[in-house]
Subunit: 325 residues, 2 copies
């Protein structure tokens, strides 16, 4: 691939002149400009972003760490992040954490290796302490959907506990007393919080919490199906069900349909949302909305404000909202 020197030689000027023309700095005689532009065209010249990065000490790259890519959740984040970065002509580097602290650490290492100007972390496995240590380094980063004490100004957060509580409260208001819960894995903080919300709503309403009415799944569709089966097999009685994520709700709904259990007559449903998977369901299933897109957008804007050292205006904390159907 042609270099700036090749262009300069062909145009009969010095490479710094070519550089200036590319970057539009200063004035040039029109025939100089013409010669250079012609040379660039004939050589099909593209400036090397890499060389430029080294020379300017700014990589123009931004990192995004996620746990995994499949399922639509990540795409939703990525869409926002990429769009915003496109506006600023920045490159996006993605990396996946592979469901482990080591994986996340390695991903961040790569961001550092590329001298990313900053990065957005949807970290689920790094400890608060480790994140605080990371914050001591000079590269700015933002935490998406996580609250770490001491790093509040880098956090974009959502109140999972309250969201779950609101969902369950809605069921309670409908007159339900025996409310089952399909929870997520307890090694994830947001899962714990959602489960907490369920417990809180029950307790505050003075309803007894029957441990047998909670089944712990793994956020996958199949586990939602199995959870409901388990509930019935253990002889539980419930008139409503709260699922801590959409995929498991889909599995649950499948079970209800297969066993001709009438929704919402025999069982009322409400789900925690992520990417609107339940929207197509029939009968419709209410959800408590998780504003991932908006949060991702805020995250990247917050990050850019940190990179450019400007002030950030948007919201950092997002409130849950019921979507009744």
């Amino acid at each position: 691939m042609a270099s700036i020197q090749d262009v300069a030689s062909l145009a009969g000027v010095h490479r710094s002149t070519v550089s200036r023309i590319i970057n539009g700095e200063g004035k040039f005689r029109s025939d100089t400009r013409r010669k250079v532009e012609q040379a660039m065209a004939t050589l099909n010249y593209r400036p090397s972003a890499i060389a430029r990065s080294l020379a300017t000490a700014s990589s123009n790259m931004t990192g995004l760490l996620v746990t995994y890519y499949t399922g639509g959740f990540f795409g939703e984040m990525m869409e926002q992040v990429q769009n915003e970065l496109d506006l600023h002509k920045k490159f996006l580097i993605t990396a996946q954490g592979h469901h482990s602290a080591d994986g996340e650490r390695e991903a961040i290492d790569r961001f550092h290796a590329l001298r990313c100007e900053g990065y957005v972390l949807n970290s689920r496995y790094l400890s608060d302490d480790e994140l605080r240590e990371l914050a001591a380094e000079s590269t700015p980063f933002v935490l998406l959907d996580r609250l770490v004490e001491g790093l509040e100004d880098r956090c974009i957060t959502f109140d999972h506990t309250l969201a779950a509580k609101m969902a369950v409260q809605h069921l309670i208001q409908q007159g339900h007393r025996n409310i089952a819960c399909i929870s997520g894995p307890m090694d994830r903080i947001s899962s714990q919080q959602r489960y907490q919300g369920y417990l809180l709503a029950m307790q505050e309403a003075g309803l007894p919490v029957n441990p047998g009415l909670t089944v712990f799944g793994d956020y996958k569709r199949e586990s939602g199906y199995q959870a409901v089966r388990e509930l019935y097999q253990t002889g539980m009685t419930f008139s409503a069900l709260f699922s801590c994520n959409e995929e498991m709700m889909l599995g649950a709904v499948l079970y209800f349909h297969e066993h001709a259990i009438d929704i919402p007559r025999q069982v009322a449903l409400i789900s925690f949302d992520s990417v609107d998977l339940c929207q197509g369901l029939y009968p419709p299933v209410s959800e408590v909305y998780f504003p991932l897109s908006e949060m991702a957008q805020s995250a990247v804007k917050l990050l850019i404000s940190k990179i450019n050292d400007t002030s950030f205006w948007g919201p950092q904390h997002f409130a849950p909202q019921l979507r009744l159907r």
Copy 2:
């Protein structure tokens, strides 16, 4: 951030020695190694991938172009691409084509700017001619789900026509004669092919093709819903329905449910698949499987073989498969 020179100075050696130790080339006195490692640790040194790229003239980066990110389709590709690249310690750069040829062109420009070693294109808007021109340049690329004459060795392909045909043939074998079709937008080649497949199946079975039985949607859920409504409003009679994608099938199913139309008694369904969205549906909906994951994996492996100039073993052409439910 500390540079290699900082490490060298602190360790009291020359920077080329540090470089060699990092890259494990040659032998070193154990105390030299110790001093250098210590210096790297205290300075928290990370080699700059950018500087390294410039020096070695290999960016270690690979590009991936997609049309958009949301909806799960992209995540499926990304998962495979990233996993494979991780194995080779390569960086992934993503870019979106924004539903236009200009957008795709710009995305590829960025790959060139970063001196990507190669890229995977899920291009929908660049013309065959333009892609052939692009192939004349030195950077290797692979086309995912596209067949361009003259570039066969860079293509990972799927027979959309045959897939659609098989789906419709299945319905015909079940005894259906009036088969409706929800097609995608005709400006997309794969949409045309799928619609072709529908027509072919009907014709080969000697069934009349009623133009009123085809409705053209936009691949979104809502348009599937509207399509079915339109079919009924125009007084069409059909006992089976083929949808050219999953989202539209979800919309259609919603309509059927809302209007108490019995599946599969009153209307039998089969859908073109992409990310298994229909899997959770009840009653179950059969699909013709689109092996996106496998194709993406092949694409990136093919690309890497081109980059490394080794030979490629996997499949380049994928055959459709029915998934009856």
